[in-house]
């Protein structure tokens, strides 16, 4: 029952998050902006379009979008979004959570290289370098949370209650800050990548999907919305307490995720994209912040 509710929450409201971010940026810029449900209209439009495939590509090209949608859905099943326990919970599921996203990254980058295009290769080169630096930050945060909660399952790690905030509030704040930077990096948001630009010199994720069209491109759009939702839900779970009532918890998660969307919109409006040489420095800084959180909880 809670599993169905959680799945519906993720599947139906993920594109709304994209709309919230765009609307926030528009308001800050003094414009009216797109409708909140624009992402849904885009998905509908793309599903009706025809697909054109490049003659250089093989089946790997279509495996990219397929895996990019399946992975965030499966990863969301590992998170406790509607209640104190995730639908799929076991000891050590936190490692599976991170490695599922590595699986989607492998197939997305392989699909990009399949086209034999210089732009996609450029995106792949940048993506694999920055992802290598973002992983340790995620794991340091998980180490600190494991120490605070004494458990190896995301359902216990993330079900924060008042005692955790009393015990280790500094560490939790550091973890949230570090994971927010990882969220921006993994989901190609400013300051790592500008989702609205189509200048090849500045793209990372946008450039990897240049040759997709039609339903496959719709799946990519939907997959990126799901991934953003899952990462935001991860951060929301660290910050929010759980009541135990599935509906209240699901609503609270949705609310927190939309608030994170507003924050992402504000960050995107107030910063420019970083020079690419600065990106590794920021990611290593995020790892160090999370590492410091581990040091704090070890005392």
């Amino acid at each position: 029952m809670t599993a169905v509710l959680q799945l519906l929450l993720v599947v139906l409201t993920a594109p709304l998050l994209l709309g919230v971010i765009t609307r926030t940026k528009a308001i800050v810029a003094g414009r009216r902006g797109q409708p909140l449900l624009q992402a849904y209209y885009d998905l509908g439009k793309l599903l009706r379009k025809e697909t054109v495939l490049s003659s250089t590509t093989t089946w790997v090209f279509l495996a990219g979008p397929a895996v990019a949608v399946v992975v965030p859905l499966l990863a969301s099943l590992l998170l406790p979004l509607a209640g104190p326990r995730a639908p799929l919970a076991f000891t050590g599921d936190l490692i599976l959570f991170v490695y599922l996203f590595a699986l989607s990254r492998f197939f997305t980058t392989a699909a990009a290289l399949d086209t034999g295009s210089a732009f996609e290769g450029m995106g792949v080169a940048r993506e694999i370098t920055f992802a290598a630096l973002a992983e340790p930050a995620l794991f340091f945060g998980l180490l600190a949370l494991a120490r605070i909660s004494g458990s190896l399952s995301l359902s216990q790690l993330l079900t924060v209650d008042g005692t955790s905030w009393h015990k280790a509030s500094a560490a939790l704040v550091l973890i949230i800050a570090s994971w927010f930077i990882v969220l921006l990096a993994e989901n190609s948001r400013v300051p790592f990548d500008d989702p609205n630009t189509h200048l090849e010199l500045t793209m990372i994720h946008e450039v990897m999907v240049l040759d997709h069209s039609g339903p496959a491109f719709g799946l990519i759009l939907y997959g990126s919305a799901l991934k953003l939702f899952v990462f935001s839900a991860l951060i929301a779970d660290v910050a929010l307490p759980r009541t135990g009532n599935p509906l209240i918890d699901a609503a609270a998660t949705l609310g927190a995720v939309l608030v994170i969307g507003v924050v992402i919109g504000l960050v995107e409006s107030s910063m420019a994209r970083l020079r690419l040489v600065r990106v590794p420095q920021l990611l290593i800084a995020a790892s160090l912040v999370a590492g410091f959180a581990v040091v704090l909880v070890l005392r």
């Binding site: 279509l62 495996a63 599976l96 590595a102 086209t115 794991f139 190896l152 240049l210």
Partner: protein
């Protein structure tokens, strides 16, 4: 029963090459013999794992030696991949190195000899037999690396290999003698309590680190590995990388199992050496442009992961945390199997690609997936497995090590000495992410995109026997990845044999069951999604790559492998120190320019070889005594004689 099957397997493997030496038409006989040997030995190893210990002993005329083998759970665990890879490699070699090619009999003979001797090393109960089999493996590997000795690269790789191998053998001689001094037998018997603390025990451990570290390819002893595995024929590289280097791991585990208490400094050394090997190994791998050298550096990375697991086991055992120790040993041992499987798979499919494209350079291949779909699929499965992605087998062993790392921080009360194990988690994370980068680069540049050379555009799929040789490896990767709980009991028996003083772990099946369920779910849903999308777009139109509107894309416009790797090479420039040749034209009008970069092995080319050259210069002063004048030589004799007489008459 298992011991008899293993000995029959060894004999069949060793004898398999002899018919090919006699006549060219016997290559079918050779293939049948080695596959039969592999199957027999594999059955024997599986029986040894499931039924129990079995032994066999025959008299031997060497003083102290006995042809004694003992197939206990640990030996059987290491024997299984040896025989599987020997059979697969032998089947592959049937068409990869056909009888018409030069030195076919030589390759088959030494391959069989090496495989049989490897199996003997893993099950030898007598230390003299262990040493003899070790040397046979080393020498036959030397001859196999030097197969194409017309090329300078093969010759130099073979010389470096045999030098490093003999340093290891010298240390192994010392270990055997010291063991005899402590136990007074020429067999692997448990050492007396407290041996780890006395100088003899510590000397044994240091020598073991050197001998088995060199053989396993642990940094900084890895200098022989990239050249050797790149120069050898592909099926030989598969066996050498898959199980040859596990000889070092086996020796280390066997020796550690004889001690009752290992000093924690040794465990920490293992842990740090393992972490350094894994991170630096994969960093160097990304910088390579020779496909087989890239795979060889990945072997160094995975040996680092295995030794990290062993380090976790030893450190946790020393600090009285049996659960952690069991997890560490289990992860390390399962990774021995996993690495054997996916590395052999990668070498065999890479060998097929190299065979078809007639080059080892990644940047001369490309687009091979359209011409060789089966090989590309096999390489893809190997790449997903080696990166440690669910739902394949690499994820299961790395997961066990991650759980050990996380448990060390949740379990220990107040920041105790076992906290060094926390380093394992970020190290494994960085290694995994870099391995993903490297294999995306390798798979993408070799198999995807457009062909970058004439040979690549004319490549054709390899014969059926070469493809069939990869099937058991693919099935093994899928089985361990999708059904890990099935292998739980076998793993726990092997862990118990490796660390007899730990309580017998009974919880692997329960621990691995959720991984099994989630792997099946992931695999099922992902495959269904891909197939659905392929079916939906089956009748899609095709066109040239849009590429932002370029009208005439050529294959030269694609990103090269070095460009893809440039970001990571830049991050690790302090360790790799790439050599770049970029002569810039300083003329008024455009003229030719070039760019070339390569990454030499830091330890070999920047540390060891300069040090040896310096030593040779210093020792060159001894040449002043080698002038060739007989009178002065007689004077040396006279002076030495007088000095000895004076000294003995004191």
């Amino acid at each position: 029963m298992s011991a008899i099957l293993v000995i029959v397997g060894v004999a069949l493997c060793m004898a398999s090459g002899l018919p090919s030496l006699v006549t060219r038409r016997a290559s079918v006989v050779t293939t049948v013999l080695i596959v039969a040997g592999g199957v027999t030995g594999l059955i024997g190893a599986v029986l040894g794992l499931t039924w129990g210990t079995a032994g066999l002993s025959l008299p031997w005329h060497i003083p102290g030696g006995a042809l004694a083998i003992r197939v206990d759970a640990l030996s059987a665990f290491f024997l299984a991949p040896v025989f599987l890879l020997a059979g697969a490699g032998g089947l592959y070699a049937d068409r990869y190195w056909p009888a018409a090619r030069m030195r076919a009999g030589y390759v088959r003979a030494f391959f069989g000899l090496m495989a049989g001797a490897l199996a003997l090393v893993m099950c030898a109960a007598n230390t003299i037999l262990f040493l003899a089999a070790w040397e046979v493996v080393a020498v036959s590997s030397f001859f196999l690396i030097a197969t194409e000795h017309e090329q300078a690269e093969s010759r130099s790789a073979a010389w470096i290999y045999i030098t490093a191998s003999h340093v290891a053998t010298l240390a192994l001689f010392a270990i055997v003698v010291l063991l005899h001094g402590v136990t007074h037998t020429w067999a692997f018997v448990p050492l007396a309590a407290g041996t780890g603390a006395i100088p003899v025990g510590q000397a044994l451990l240091c020598l073991a680190f050197i001998a088995f570290g060199i053989k396993a390819g642990l940094m900084p002893f890895h200098i022989w590995l990239p050249g050797a595995h790149a120069a050898a024929p592909s099926h030989v590289s598969a066996v050498m990388s898959g199980v040859g280097i596990k000889m070092g791991v086996y020796g280390l585990v066997r020796l550690l199992s004889l001690f009752d208490a290992v000093p924690s400094a040794f465990g920490t050394t293992l842990l740090l050496a393992g972490i350094a090997s894994s991170i630096l190994g994969v960093a160097f791998a990304i910088a390579q442009h020779d496909l087989k050298r890239l795979l060889a550096y990945h072997s160094i990375e995975n040996i680092g992961i295995i030794v990290t697991g062993l380090g976790i086991g030893v450190v946790a055992q020393t600090h009285g945390q049996p659960l952690l120790a069991v997890l560490g040993y289990a992860g390390a041992l399962l990774h021995v199997w996993n690495h054997g499987l996916f590395k052999a798979l990668l070498f065999l499919s890479a060998g097929a690609a190299i065979h078809s494209a007639h080059t080892r350079e990644i940047d001369r291949m490309g687009g091979l997936a359209r011409r060789m779909p089966w090989t590309a699929a096999a390489f893809l499965i190997g790449a997903v497995a080696i990166t440690g992605l669910p739902p394949l087998n690499g994820f299961v062993s790395e997961w066990l090590l991650y759980v050990a790392g996380f448990t060390s921080i949740t379990g220990s009360p107040h920041g105790g000495p076992a906290l060094i194990l926390v380093l394992v988690v970020p190290a494994l994370a960085l290694t995994g992410a870099l391995a993903l980068a490297c294999f995306v680069k390798a798979f993408g540049t070799v198999f995807l995109g457009a062909p970058r050379s004439e040979a690549a555009s004319d490549a054709s799929e390899v014969p059926a026997t070469m493809r069939a040789a990869t099937v058991p490896l693919i099935l093994g990767c899928a089985a361990i990845g999708l059904l890990p709980a099935l292998f739980g009991p076998l793993l726990s028996r092997a862990v118990h044999a490796a660390a007899p003083r730990l309580p017998m772990p009974a919880t692997f099946t329960a621990l691995l069951q959720p991984i099994q369920d989630s792997a099946l779910v992931i695999a099922g849903i992902a495959i269904a999604a891909v197939l659905t999308l392929l079916a939906v777009t089956r009748r899609a139109a095709t066109a040239l790559t849009w590429d932002c509107g370029y009208a005439e894309p050529t294959s030269r416009m694609q990103y090269t492998a070095s460009s893809t790797a440039r970001g990571v090479v830049g991050l690790f420039g302090w360790a790799m120190r790439p050599v770049i040749h970029a002569p810039r034209p300083f003329t008024l009008f455009p003229s030719a320019a070039a760019f070339e970069s390569h990454v030499p092995d830091t330890v070999l080319d920047r540390a060891l070889l300069p040090a040896l050259r310096g030593a040779r210069w210093v020792l060159g002063f001894a040449r002043y005594f080698q002038h060739g004048r007989m009178q002065l030589y007689l004077l040396y004799l006279g002076v030495t004689l007088v000095a000895l007489l004076a000294w003995s008459a004191r």
